[in-house]
């Protein structure tokens, strides 16, 4: 009896995120068969189920002297929706293109379903649905013909039914030539391309860019459905709200390096929290003793209110406020956007901090 395999598989079921019931059921059956030792083939199948869907190991990519990514390592579990965040030029697209075998890494490697990706070999591509960051397709052809050509280049021969279903949900006319489609509709073609052959791994680079809010919701639904059906999704996005809406975990990249890898809830918590204080009528709003209150900054000051941002414990702020007649205190929920900005704020020069503070101020005004 291969004990270690049994333990790993069991751990996978009980301690890791397995998102769909059928996978758990299948694992159960396989473990039964392993226990009875009836069939060796099941051992390898069980091993495959326990392996990560995507693994990036010490990946580095340099463009001459310019850094794309450096020493990047993370993995994505099967059935997981994994957010991949970072500002422009942080290395998200570089990682994705290395993962697709379009770029040759300078160091390290990428694995999909345990198989190493060899640049240009496309060995895993029948199982991958890919939406590039800048989706461009043959402009003179109809969307239907373009998608059919791309489907024939993989294993997606019987996709017409799925294609129709997706086109209906995305409200897309497949019989129009691509050059006559708007930017948003072209992006819908890209979404359809990624999802049409029901791949087991989806790599989506900014899937909702240029889409209206309603279609954006449809795309997020498609992502959730795919994960529910057992697919693994790597979602690279600038739209943090959509990452928060669908992803369980996220990685944050900064200047080609992994800045954070954590559950979304933890990322949000790590952000700078906000506090809004209403002083009693007629009270002069006190000025903030920045030198005494470390980690606290002023976002906005009005006639009777003070809008603060703080990091760490709220205790020193409350003790300072206790000296004044306060009517009401609210703690607006920290958005992922603020947490995200906070991640980039770390180690940034002062000028940038001021800029980010003004962004927070704008956000508070909008609220």
């Amino acid at each position: 009896m291969p004990c270690s395999l049994y333990q790993t598989t069991t751990r996978q079921i009980f301690h890791h995120n397995i998102y769909n019931n059928s996978a758990v059921k299948e694992l159960g059956i396989l473990l039964d068969r392993l226990n009875t030792g009836r069939d060796n083939a099941y051992k390898s199948k069980a091993k495959k189920i326990t392996m990560k869907a995507i693994e990036i190991k010490k990946l580095s990519k340099w463009y001459g002297s310019a850094r794309g990514v450096e020493d990047l390592s993370f993995s994505v579990e099967k059935g997981e929706i994994f957010g991949y965040l970072g500002p422009n030029g942080s290395g998200k697209t570089t990682t994705i293109r290395c993962l697709m075998g379009l770029l040759r890494p300078t160091g390290g490697n990428c694995l999909v379903s345990g198989e190493r990706i060899v640049p240009g070999r496309a060995t895993q591509h029948t199982n991958i649905g890919y939406l590039p960051g800048e989706f461009r397709i043959w402009p003179g052809l109809t969307a239907r013909r373009s998608l059919a050509i791309l489907a024939r280049l993989g294993n997606g021969k019987n996709i017409s039914k799925r294609q129709e279903e997706l086109a209906e949900r995305l409200d897309l006319n497949l019989d129009r030539r691509v050059h006559t489609l708007s930017k948003g509709n072209r992006q819908k073609v890209g979404v359809l391309y990624a999802f049409q052959h029901q791949p087991e791994v989806l790599i989506l680079d900014e899937p909702t860019i240029g889409l209206d809010p309603l279609v954006r919701q449809v795309v997020l639904e498609l992502i959730r459905e795919a994960a529910h059906a057992g697919s693994t999704i790597l979602l690279s996005s600038h739209d943090l709200s959509e990452v928060a809406a669908v992803c369980g975990r996220a990685a944050i990249l900064r200047e080609g390096r992994l800045n954070e890898l954590a559950p979304i809830s933890k990322i949000v918590q790590q952000g700078r929290k906000r506090l809004k204080v209403w002083f009693a009528e007629g009270t002069q709003v006190p000025s903030l003793p920045v030198d005494k209150l470390a980690g606290v900054s002023l976002i906005q000051q009005e006639q009777e209110t003070l809008h603060l941002a703080y990091q760490g414990s709220i205790d020193p702020v409350l003790k300072w406020l206790a000296q004044y007649p306060v009517n009401r205190i609210s703690t607006p929920q920290t958005s992922l956007e603020e947490a995200f900005i906070q991640y980039y704020n770390k180690n940034q020069p002062l000028g940038v901090t001021k800029h980010l503070d003004s962004e927070l101020k704008e956000a508070s005004n909008e609220q």
Binding site: L102, L103, E115, G120, T123, Y130, L150, L153, G154, E200
Partner: protein, 276 residues
């Protein structure tokens, strides 16, 4: 998930690219075919030939060299029909195909962003390169055969005072086909290394330089030593029409250029990061 699966040759991609190229190929083939018939229509009549040669003689001597030089004389039917083979219009059409197809298929798809989609399917980079190479080389040979069939058709339509050596024209066509394919190989190499416009300009510059060097070497005796340095030297019309055997050594040189440039292009293409 399936384990590692070696991709099969992407016949749908070959079919798709062939269908895209077919209209321009058909147009070039039609023009070349009709041009051969027109040339035969002119040169089968001695009076027309005299008028043509008188006209050519009045122009600068290098123009006569371009059209065939001393082989242009009344009674030399082979030399006169061969005008249709080395006429600048025909050469330009060949080069348009040889340069346009590989650069359009490889560098063009990269520039349009569609190569990223093709390579995100079950298609290896080498397979995509082979598809472009096959279409270029097969297309070139097919054009050469169309040219030869134009000559065959015209010799059946028009009556000539002496027998037309079709066997020699066939040799010339095959030799020309290998030359055109070698140019295609150079264009493939350029397309594998550079962006579309750079690849086109480099290949065209290479061809134009070769063409003018070959004309100058032919026209100016002091520059004769330059002849073997040009790609056009290896299609020797005089040798083809005067000797019965095939110009094997010349064909081998051209085949070497084709093989070396194509293989080198394939190696660079497979190792190059895509898209740029």
């Amino acid at each position: 998930m399936n384990s590692k699966v070696r991709p099969r040759f992407p016949l749908p991609l070959l079919r798709f690219w062939t269908l895209r190229i077919l209209p321009i190929w058909a147009l070039i083939a039609l023009v070349i075919f009709l041009f051969q018939i027109a040339v035969c229509g002119i040169v089968h009549d001695n009076e027309s030939v005299k008028t043509f040669i008188n006209f050519i003689d009045r122009l600068p001597s290098f123009i006569k060299t371009i059209f065939g030089g001393e082989s242009l004389k009344v009674g030399n039917i082979s030399g006169l029909i061969a005008i249709g083979y080395n006429h600048p219009l025909v050469l330009t059409l060949y080069m348009l195909f040889a340069v346009g197809v590989p650069t359009g298929l490889l560098a063009g798809e990269v520039q349009k962003g569609t190569m990223e989609l093709i390579l995100s399917r079950h298609v290896t980079k080498i397979h995509a390169y082979i598809c472009a190479g096959l279409i270029t080389i097969t297309g070139m040979f097919a054009l050469v055969m169309v040219m030869f069939s134009g000559t065959v058709f015209a010799t059946n339509v028009y009556e000539f005072s002496q027998e037309v050596p079709l066997h020699s024209f066939f040799k010339a066509a095959i030799n020309g086909g290998i030359l055109a394919s070698a140019v295609g190989g150079i264009a493939l190499l350029a397309a594998a290394c550079f962006q579309r416009n750079t690849a086109v300009w480099l290949t065209v510059a290479y061809l134009v330089a070769n063409y003018f060097v070959s004309i100058i070497a032919e026209w100016w005796p002091r520059m004769k030593w330059l002849k073997p340095t040009t790609i056009f030297y290896y299609v020797d019309g005089t040798k083809i029409f005067t000797e019965s055997k095939w110009p094997i050594s010349n064909m081998c040189v051209l085949l070497s250029i084709l093989v070396i440039s194509t293989v080198l292009g394939g190696v660079i293409w497979s190792r190059r990061d895509l898209p740029l």
